[in-house]
Each structure stands twice: as C-alpha cells, then as structure tokens.
Symmetry: C2
Subunit: 528 residues, 2 copies
C-alpha cells in the first residue's frame, strides 16, 4: 500500500472523516487514493483560506479534527490567516501540507520555500513525515496533538515521495485499533486553587467570573451561573469566544465588549476577576492614550482554570465548595423581538434575526460593527451556538460556516458577514453550493470598512478631520459590490433587500429551503 | 512630524510613488497621513494577495519598487503567495507590515503572531523599525535593499507606536537628498569566466545560452542572439521569466517548457549549457520515474553571469570576444495569425490574441494549460512584455496586471487567466474598476484544474484510472463559475463568448474602450 493510502486510512481509523482541500501536483497521490478510502469525505475549495476556515468550523462544532490538504508553502500561506483564528479558538485541526519529494528540495524548484517557518506561528505541533512507514504513527500523533490539551493546530508535512512510495509494515504501537487519544487529560484544579477562589467569592468584595473556551458550553455556564447567583458575583464571557452556547434556557454571561473602554466600564468596580479558561482582558489594539491592560486598577486577577485544566470540573467543585444550591443558576427566558418594519438598519436586521432564528442554529458571526444589536436581539431566541471571530483575522465567517454545516448536517447554519470581511474569502460560496450545505449567508453591507472609520478616530489619527484620500481607503462602495451577482456567479441563489419586511421574507424563505442562500442586506451609508 | 508622515515622506523622497494597501487599525496613522503626502498614490485592494501581486507587477515593469501596506501577521500571511512569486521574479518590493505598538505585544492580543517567522521565507531583507527617529533611514535602507542586486522583497515592520509618536531629527546620513541607491552595483564578470565561455562557444561542440532575469530585455536578447548566430549555438530562455521582452523586431529565445520531458527534448544533444542570470533547469515537481535535474547527461553547465552580475555587460563582452559582428542577431519578422473562425478552442483563442495584440502591450500570463498555443500565435505580434507565473503560486495574474497598469498607464495590459487561478484572487477586479485601469482580462475557462489532470497521470497516481472522487477534486464546473456575473458584481464590464468570432469582437472592443474589461472565454470541456 502506498503512503498516500496509508495516510487516508490512518485518518479514517483516527476518526477523521472530513478533509477540506485544495491540492496540487505534490498531493496527487493523496487525491488518487480518495476513491479507495471512502470513510474520508473530500471537500474541494477554490482557495486555501476556505479550506482552513472550514476545518476550524468543523473542529469547533465536532470537538474533533477535520483534516486539510494544502499545496506546499504558498498553499499553506494562503490558509494561514484562518489557521491563526483556529489557533485562537483552540480548535482541533489536522493541517496536512504537501511538499516536494525529499530529494527534490535541494534543486530549489519554483514552489520550494521554508514551510516550517511559515507553519510554526500557527501550529502548536509540527512534524515532517520522513518515510511512508512513519505515516501511520505521524497521522495518529497529529490527531492526538490536535486534541490537546489545549486543542490546537497540528501541522504534518508530507513529502510527495512519502505519499507515492510503498509503505512497509507500520512501526509498532500498542492498541492500534483504538482511536488516538488526546495528548493528556485536562488536569484537575487543586484544592488550594479552589479554596482560594471560594475565599474570594465569600469575601463580599465585588467579584466576577470571566469564562472562556471550554467553560462556554452548557455545563460550564450552568455551574458558573450557580456560583455567581449564590455569591452575588458577576458572570462575564471573553469577547471573542470560539464557541458560545446561548439562547433561551441557558445562563447568559455578559460578553466583554470588543472596544476596551466599554469592556472597562463592564468591569468597573470589580476587586476580583476569576479567570476560567480565559485570558485577562486586553485591548485588541494599542492606542496612544488608552491602557493595553483592561483589568480595573486595584482589581486582583485569579486563575481558577487554564486551557490545560478541566474548567467545567473546577466550576462544579467550586459551586459545591461555596455551597451554591443545585438549580441556583439563572437562565434566559424565551423571548423574541417583534418583526421589524420599515427601513433596513443594523437594529431592524438584528430584530428580524432574533425573531426568526431557528432552533438549534449555528451562527458564524463576522459582522464587526453592523452586528452591534445582534447579541441583544438574539439573547432569548431558541438555543444556538455562536462562533465568533476568535483571532480577529477577517475572512473567517463564510468558510467557518462550511465546516459547521459539514460537522452538523442536521442543524441550520447562519453566516452573518460584513461586506469587507466577506470579500476576503468569497470563494467559500462555491463550496457551499457544490456541497449543497444548509447555510444562510447574510451580508451586512454598509459600503465601508466601518470599524476602521471608528478606529481612525480612536487611535488619535483623526484628531484633525481625515482627508479625502484617507477616507477613500476605508470606503467599499466605489464601485459598489454587487453581492447578489457574485453569489449567483458562484452558484448560490441570492437576493437583495433594503427594507426590514423584505429581509424577514427572504430570511424565512432561506431557512425553509434546502441548500445555501445569500441575502445582500443593504444598510444606510454613514454620512450619505 | 509623526512617524507615519515621516514614513510616507521617506517613500516619496526615495522615489516610491505607488502604495498598494489593505490597512487595519495598526496602520491608521499611515492612512491618516496620506492626504499630506500626495506624491504617494494609495491604492486599496480587498485582499492582501491583490496588494502584493500588484506590487510585484509594478516592480517588474517600473524597475523600482512600489510599497505595500499589510495588517500584522495575518495580513502579511494573506499576501505571502504573491510575495513568493515576486521573490522568484526578483522583483523589487518594499513590503510594509504594520504591527502592534511595541509595548502592546507582550499582552498577546488576538492578532499577535510571529511576523518575522512568516516574512523571512519571502524576504531577502527584513527589519523592524524601532523608533520614529529610525523610520527615515529604515525606509531608505528598505528601498536600497529592494533594488539589490539581486532585486528582492524588503520587508519593514512598523509598530503602531513608531507611526504615531513624534519623530525627532532623523539619524544623520550623507547625501540625504539623493534617491536611495541599490545595495551595490552588479559586478562585472571576470575575464577568466568570459574566456571560458568563449572557449566553449568556439569548441564546435553543441552549446546553448540559457537566458533568465535581466538578460531577457532587448539589450541582453540582442547580444545573446548575436553570439548564438555567430557561434551556431542555441538560444534558450528560462521557463518562468519574471519579464520577457518579445515580439516582432526582437530576438526570440526558445523558452524551456514547463514539463520536464519537453524541456529535456529541447536540450537533447547539448554538450554545454551556459547560464546567463538563469538557474540550471530543474523539474518543477518530482515524479517517481523522472529526473529532477533536467540537464542532459554529459552536458556541462557553465555560469556566465548570476543574479549579482551585470549579465548584459557580460553578453556584450562575450559577443566581442567571440568576434560576433554587430548586427548578427536574428530578430522575429512581424507576422500575425489569420482571424480565427468557428468554435472557441485554446488554438483559436491564441490566434485571435495574436491577431489583435496591441503595440507595446503588457501580458500577464497565468493561463497554465489553456495557453499552450499562445507563444506561437503571438511570436510575431508587435513588441510586448510577457510576465509569467514566476514562482508557480497561482493567483498572480489579475493582481500583477494592476501593478503593471499603474506602472505603465499608457500601455495596454492584458491579463490571461485560467479559471482556477483567477478564483484565487478574483477580488483584483474591484481594484481594476476602482482605479479605472486599462486592463483586458480574459478567463480561459475549461471548467477544471486541467494541469492537475495531466499531473495526476504524470506522477503515476493515475496508472489505474482515477475514480470519481479523485476526478471531482479537479473539476470546477459543479457548479459552473459565472465569471461574467462575478466581474460585473465587482464593477468590471464583462461578456461571455463561445465562438472565435465573438471573442475577436469582444477583444477588439475591450482594447478600444478605456477602463477594465473581462471576457469569459468558455472552452470545450475535456471528455464532455
């Protein structure tokens, strides 16, 4: 059996059954083997940023990795931005990068480059498979590594010769028939740490739990809410969660705002901040006259659990320790906004989404400024998963939706996109059409990089009024982008709406019909 | 004056007058300064691969660098593939990457990553500017470094604080008013090397000159042809030239084929291969039963000039040394194909292009398999520049055309694109429309990654017939991509053609009208 076939078999035996790819010549043996290993579903994308974003979305929703197949250094490079987001989301990804045959690299052919230097910044684990006999072990190790703790991007580079040569017997390994296990188990939090956190909560001083990562699913939310309700503490969530379970029937932590000054207002007066698989709040960017560290002055930061700990176990133990009764947690009551009428605005868009969000939806949210009303409008909607822009590298939303839809074929997926971000990886629509995925894409089109208009003022660069050239660098409506035409050109049926009523109708229809849809929501232009 | 303004002034004073950008928050001071430094033309792109490809195209045609502005590690990552091509083309590029303020990085905000690790593989020169006082010198050094020899990508990382702080007096530097000069002068080839090459050519043994890089402009071509005609040697060119001057009135070296076995046939029987700013021919990929090194067995390889030498000077000196008379060079006679009739095929497409190619055109060629008839059909067309896919990283052609059009606003630019490659950086069309560039884009649509169908067989992966899954990974017509809709959606008028006559008409019209156009040329599907 050739190395390529061993590789696919090892993926399948490791429980990796989805492979997003944009292969090239050095990956042709892998492609040729796809028909003999039917347990791995191969999904083609037109650009590598779609491949990696889809793998991230799959990992977030399936809690196990999908694989990528990328073509040498430049193919990897095209996928790095969404691997950066996957790294920040602590998403498990097996990132397979094809390379030249080992003996060919010294000839410095046109596509030769330093793959390791490119891969390291996003990869928690990196290896080059040397011989076809090693592939089975290397794949299993990559799957294990991707599962962490913490979950991470595991990059395995596969030279073309390792793919095409016959593999001898695989290196021995105990219990080969078992699925690869995580590198280790999340460690239990010590009694001292628990006691210290309990003392903080019993002190009566203003305190908050700040939840991130694995604490943002139902068990963590319930235990944390139970603690906070009992102890009178605030319940906060990190600003860019990889995956947050929310909606009616679940506790709702207050998500820290993207902008530092709002986040600081949310934390004002706190004397203790207890981190639960979250980092201490920092400003996404530096500004000349604002702090980088957003923790209020005099507020003590305590770590209950990090990303290698069992955060949910720690929360449950802490709840017991502080004597919080079972059932003390407070959950959101079901409620939906009225159907909005009149002009389409960020507010009416959000209301319509809140009114119509289907049960058990997955929401890939990359709306940036236009999505400001979404958290409020969807808070009491039926339970859903929210996937946010974890690493701030735009171009995530449409690809992420692909991975989520492949991981959860029975759940409706909603991709909420800003116009500027959508154009980074617009090729994703083609894969959505090709795979007939149930994704409703909504483009929030305000005709600009609106976030940058805000940032231009915030960084102090706009203390004098920005000139026409500066302003034009943030404008996306000369020429206006016709997302309906682009979407239809890529095989996804689309419509344009300019009123709340039309949006509501288009959204209902998209949810009711199978396959992908796109709604181009034209928002008012600022200052026009 | 703030660092950002110093930076733009330094670019302008260094002769850098075009800046392609996709900025973010950390680059807002640069953006805000654009109105005060009007000598630098700022050009926005919707994706960083467009930014870097445009900078490459500008460098190839202007022989001096444009600047980029990219947003931290992920923004750089999105631009790396076309920087890889620029590196291979030895194109001068000043690659500016914004970063967090220096003191902010330790907080590990969401967009923090290892920029140096990402940049090194494509950058011949790399520096982080530390203080606003250093910016002027750093920019001038980056411009110098980009000019080489050899020409290269010079990456300068600019932290947000270096941009927003007031710059003290710049560090002293002699002759500040002069334009930055290249790092050094291309060195003259020694008499020994010239004598050795002359001896080879006088030996009567079958020999060829293989031209690359700087030898592929008129002076190098003329001197090389003069030598070859006199000495009875073959005149060859590298397979993926960054820029090749060709057409009626110029000597025409035989370009080595992309596929190794054809290149080997072109070199069969040679006993001497003399390299002139070119590498010894290697196969772009390794194949199980084919050589990596394409030089015929027993053929000696001699280096007349490398990329740090004055290659043209070496050719002219060699011509004198072998006694080749002035005027001995053989040039192509003007000739054009007949206007083709009937169905649109790769052959009729090429004939129409040969028949209509305007005087002094710049051709960005990323046609891959569908362009096989182009070299022949355009050989006798009016003189033009050909820019090829120098680093084999697809997604180059449409962005490259932008840079060429900005560098040479009076010349018609033709982007010849394969369907698969076009979809990598299709966002380029929007910038073409926004800047009203005279670019005619032709999409050669065969509905597949056709090169990979060939490679699938060549790597031996297709010895048994590829199965339906493998074949589907190379197919782009499910769903079919409507390039007319996409182009119009991005503001570029477009038409679809299926006959040679319709193509001829659309092409004539596109050449006659100002601004960008796109022609979607639907080719027959193999096996359909």
């Amino acid at each position: 059996m050739k190395g390529a076939e061993v590789l696919l078999n090892s993926l399948a035996a490791s429980g990796v059954d989805a492979c997003f790819m944009n292969p090239g010549t050095s990956e042709m043996h892998l492609v040729a083997s796809l028909d003999s290993v039917t347990a791995v579903r191969a999904i083609l994308a037109l650009f590598e940023g779609v491949v990696t974003g889809a793998a991230d979305g799959f990992g977030r929703m399936a809690d196990r990795p999908a694989a990528t197949v990328l073509h040498l250094g430049p193919g990897l490079a095209n996928g790095l931005a969404n691997l950066h987001n996957a790294r920040r989301a602590k998403s498990p990804v097996v990132n397979l990068v094809g390379d030249h045959a080992s003996y060919h690299k010294r000839f410095d052919p046109p596509l030769e480059s330093d793959i390791e230097s490119l891969a390291r910044p996003v990869s928690g684990w990196y290896r080059r498979t040397r011989r076809p006999e090693d592939i089975d072990l290397d794949v299993r190790d990559a799957v294990s590594a991707s599962l962490g703790p913490p979950r991470q991007v595991a990059t395995l580079v596969v030279g073309a010769d390792a793919s095409w040569l016959e593999a001898g017997p695989p290196r021995a390994r105990a219990a080969r028939e078992e699925l690869p296990r995580p590198l280790g188990r999340p460690s239990q939090v010590s009694d001292e740490v628990l006691a210290s956190a309990a003392a903080v909560l019993r002190s009566g001083e203003p305190a908050a739990l700040l939840l991130g990562g694995s604490a943002l699913r139902e068990p963590g939310l319930v235990a944390a809410s139970r603690i906070c309700e009992h102890a009178g503490a605030a319940l906060l969530a990190e600003p860019l969660p990889g995956r947050l379970e929310r909606g009616a029937g679940l506790p709702a932590p207050q998500r820290l705002a993207y902008f530092g000054e709002i986040a600081m207002a949310q934390m004002a007066g706190l004397e203790h901040l207890v981190l639960v698989d979250a980092s201490a709040p920092v400003s996404p960017f530096a500004y000349p006259d604002r702090p980088s560290d957003l923790v209020p002055q005099g507020c003590q930061v305590h770590v209950l659990a990090g990303d290698r700990n069992d955060a949910v176990g720690a929360l449950e133990a802490l709840a017991e320790l502080v004597g919080a009764p079972l059932g003390a947690s407070r959950v959101v009551v079901a409620s939906r906004p009225e159907f909005p009428l009149g002009p389409l605005t960020p507010e009416s868009l959000a209301a319509a989404l809140g009114a119509l969000l289907p049960e058990n939806a997955i929401v890939s949210d990359e709306t940036i400024t236009s999505g400001i009303y979404l958290p409020g409008a969807t808070a009491g909607a039926p339970r859903h998963d929210l996937l946010s822009l974890s690493g701030n590298a735009i171009g995530q939303g449409l690809p992420l939706a692909i991975g989520a839809a492949v991981a959860c074929p029975d759940r409706p997926v909603l991709a909420l996109e800003a116009d500027g971000s959508a154009m980074y990886t617009i090729q994703a629509l083609w894969t959505q059409a090709r795979e007939e995925l149930n994704i409703t894409n909504v483009i929030f089109d305000n005709g600009s990089y609106a976030i940058l208009n805000i940032e231009l003022a915030r960084v102090g660069a706009g203390t004098t009024l920005p000139g026409p050239v500066a302003r034009s660098m943030l404008e996306l409506d000369r020429p206006a982008i016709d997302f309906v035409a682009i979407s239809e050109g890529l095989g996804v049926p689309a419509s344009r709406v300019t009123t709340a009523e039309a949006f509501t109708k288009a959204l209902s229809q998209a949810f009711a019909e199978a396959g992908p849809h796109l709604i181009h929501a034209l928002l008012p232009r600022d200052g026009h």
